[in-house]
């Protein structure tokens, strides 16, 4: 680094003062290098240690908790954020520990409801971090739903649900095809009146598509949109009566709509990101 003395020995000898200055500059520069590299590695530690993981957008090239490829490929431009009609995708911040500027989804606040039909985030991704190998919602593998708090589930108690699923102040949106085929509306603007709460099944995007296909009207008239398997269903509990419980099926892609819409607080059903359906894409 001390180029004057090491690279050009032929040059006339430096004064002691100049040499001391060069030496100090060299040490300062080494300090700067160590500081900067240290700072950049600080961002790497939580990511490598996987102290924190989040639901990623559909098509993220990851396998369960192994996000190595996804993190390598993401260029952190947020184009996926911009195209999402329900604004489900957020960019991670410094303390999230999942890679500054990488996209994630907070399902309870705003889940991906596939209301774009065509996986717009995947199409927008310039680097293939959201892989272009999937074309339809049923092909995504984001996570897998689990009834985490069965005692809180209204259906299991045989209860119905009346009113706004998440209260009047909840800003989350869903697309209700019967209200507006193209524009998602706030969940708060769409109150329910159900004899038995079946919101997690009723709003499941996979189940909605299956119903549309059964009615002969798949999204965009494209039969490829039809999911091959069910994702969730209400099944009677032993003991009979009105009580029923949601059962997650292996068609579940982990989009998180059930977690978002669940009126129990905290949600009775959640999406795990360390598990996906065993059916390969």
């Amino acid at each position: 680094m001390n180029e004057q003395s090491s690279r050009k020995p032929a040059k006339k000898a430096q004064s002691p003062v100049r040499r001391a200055q060069n030496r100090r500059e060299f040490l300062r520069t080494v300090g700067l290098t160590a500081g900067m590299v240290g700072a950049s590695l600080m961002g790497l530690v939580p990511v490598l240690a996987r102290t924190n993981t989040r639901l990623r957008p559909p098509g993220a090239i990851k396998h369960l908790l192994n996000e190595q490829e996804f993190l390598a490929a993401c260029i952190k431009c947020g184009q996926c954020v911009q195209v999402c009609p329900v604004e489900a995708i957020k960019l991670s911040d410094l303390l999230d520990g999942v890679g500054v500027g990488t996209p994630h989804i907070e399902a309870r606040a705003q889940a991906c409801d596939f209301s774009c039909d065509g996986l717009q985030c995947v199409l927008a991704c310039p680097t293939g971090a959201l892989a272009h190998t999937i074309d339809y919602p049923a092909q995504s593998r984001m996570g897998f739903a689990r009834l985490a708090r069965p005692h809180a589930c209204l259906a299991r108690q045989g209860k119905g649900f009346k009113g706004q699923a998440r209260g009047a102040d909840f800003p989350g949106k869903l697309r209700y095809a019967e209200v507006d085929r193209w524009k998602p509306i706030p969940v708060a603007d769409h109150p329910y009146d159900l004899d038995l709460c079946d919101l997690c099944v009723r709003q499941c995007p996979i189940e909605i598509r299956i119903a549309e296909c059964a009615a002969g009207t798949p999204p965009s008239g494209d039969p490829n949109q039809c999911p091959p398997r069910h994702a969730i269903a209400l099944e009677p509990l032993p003991g009979g009566g009105k009580r029923q419980g949601p059962v997650v099926k292996d068609g579940c892609v982990g989009c998180g709509v059930c977690e978002m819409i669940c009126p129990a607080e905290p949600a009775a059903i959640v999406v795990d990101i360390d598990k996906t359906t065993s059916i390969p894409v």
Binding site: E25, M36, L44, V47, A73, I75, K76, D93, L95, T127
Partner: protein, 325 residues
């Protein structure tokens, strides 16, 4: 060819040697000889500077450049918030009216980390490469990078404080920038994670503008404070690998700043305003090899020297294009 070699040497932090008289053209030797005979006094120099400072030309290029930089960054913001789809994405990668653009350095990092290149990224990178080759390489830094503008404002504050001895300007060895370049490349390839992007103020500021502020801005604030109180323009001068990436593109770019020895008074104002003053060492009396010299590729083509020069000895030029800008 010597332009490319000399420019590259400066990019990696080497200092060019003072030319011997044999290395200088007869024309430039004659100019220097004539200048040594008729020296201008301090009073005359100041009078010329003051006359220039009073004109509207004094900040002509800075005005144009700041306008461009702000408009480009606002296009990102407006495109998202009003859904006009002109420039979608952020500075690291975007779609400009549908066409893929990818920042060269961010794309290189992703390629090193992912070790696989999808076609869209290749298209975006090639488009940006051609674009910045056309307009001057490090033109990206001064005409586009949102951190550059913040750093310029911080620099103005730094100069005010330094004049009162409230701030220092610690110098580092410029050779550390290519060292950072290699370290970040190796770290990225080895860890499979775009390490530099974590601390890149360009990406952080661009995303903060578009998607809203976050805690990552604290890092940018720390960098700015370092530049204000400790070391002038430290990030751009000593650290940022984006500058080297675009500097390499600039080696072959036709857009350059040209220095004319004959009209120069060698008072050194240009080097005082310059982000990379080593590229203007040629304006020191006796350093130029020819009567007209093109400023090396580490130059960000910001035009501050063009603005400050009271004699018009520094001008933009497009190589191969006869008309001056």
């Amino acid at each position: 060819m010597s332009y490319v070699v000399d420019s590259f040497k400066q990019l990696i932090g080497l200092t060019l040697e003072r030319p011997t008289p044999e290395q200088q053209s007869p024309e430039v030797r004659e100019i220097y000889l004539a200048k040594s005979k008729e020296r201008l006094g301090k009073k005359q120099l100041h009078a010329i500077e003051d006359a220039h400072a009073a004109t509207r030309k004094r900040h002509k290029w800075r005005r144009r450049r700041w306008t461009t930089l702000i408009v480009i960054n606002l296009l990102f913001v407006v495109s998202y918030h009003f859904d006009v789809q002109l420039v979608e994405g952020a500075m690291t990668a975007s779609r400009v009216v549908g066409f893929h653009f990818a920042d060269l350095n961010a794309a290189l990092q992703v390629m090193l980390a992912y070790k696989h290149v999808v076609r869209n990224l290749l298209i975006g990178t090639a488009t940006v490469l051609v674009l910045w080759w056309l307009v001057g390489g490090r033109t990206f830094c001064s005409w586009c990078c949102p951190y550059h503008l913040l750093a310029e404002w911080a620099e103005a504050l730094h100069l005010k404080l330094a004049a009162r001895h409230w701030a220092r300007d610690i110098k580092f060895h410029r050779g550390v920038r290519p060292v950072f370049y290699v370290i970040f490349a190796v770290l990225t390839a080895a860890s499979g994670y775009t390490v530099f992007e974590t601390i890149s103020p360009t990406g952080i500021v661009s995303r903060a503008l578009i998607y809203g502020p976050g805690l990552a801005l604290l890092w940018v604030a720390a960098l700015l404070l370092f530049e204000i109180f400790v070391s002038r323009r430290a990030w751009c001068r000593y650290i940022c690998p984006i500058g080297i990436t675009y500097g390499v593109v600039g080696l072959f770019s036709p857009v350059r700043v040209q220095y004319n020895v004959r009209s120069c008074h060698h008072e050194g104002d240009c080097r005082k305003v310059c982000l990379v003053p080593h590229v203007l060492d040629i304006t020191i009396k006796g350093r130029a090899r020819k009567a007209q010299v093109e400023v090396a590729a580490d130059c960000t083509r910001c035009g501050l020297c063009v603005d400050v020069c009271p004699t018009g000895s520094l001008t933009y030029k497009v190589k191969g294009l006869e008309t001056m800008l």
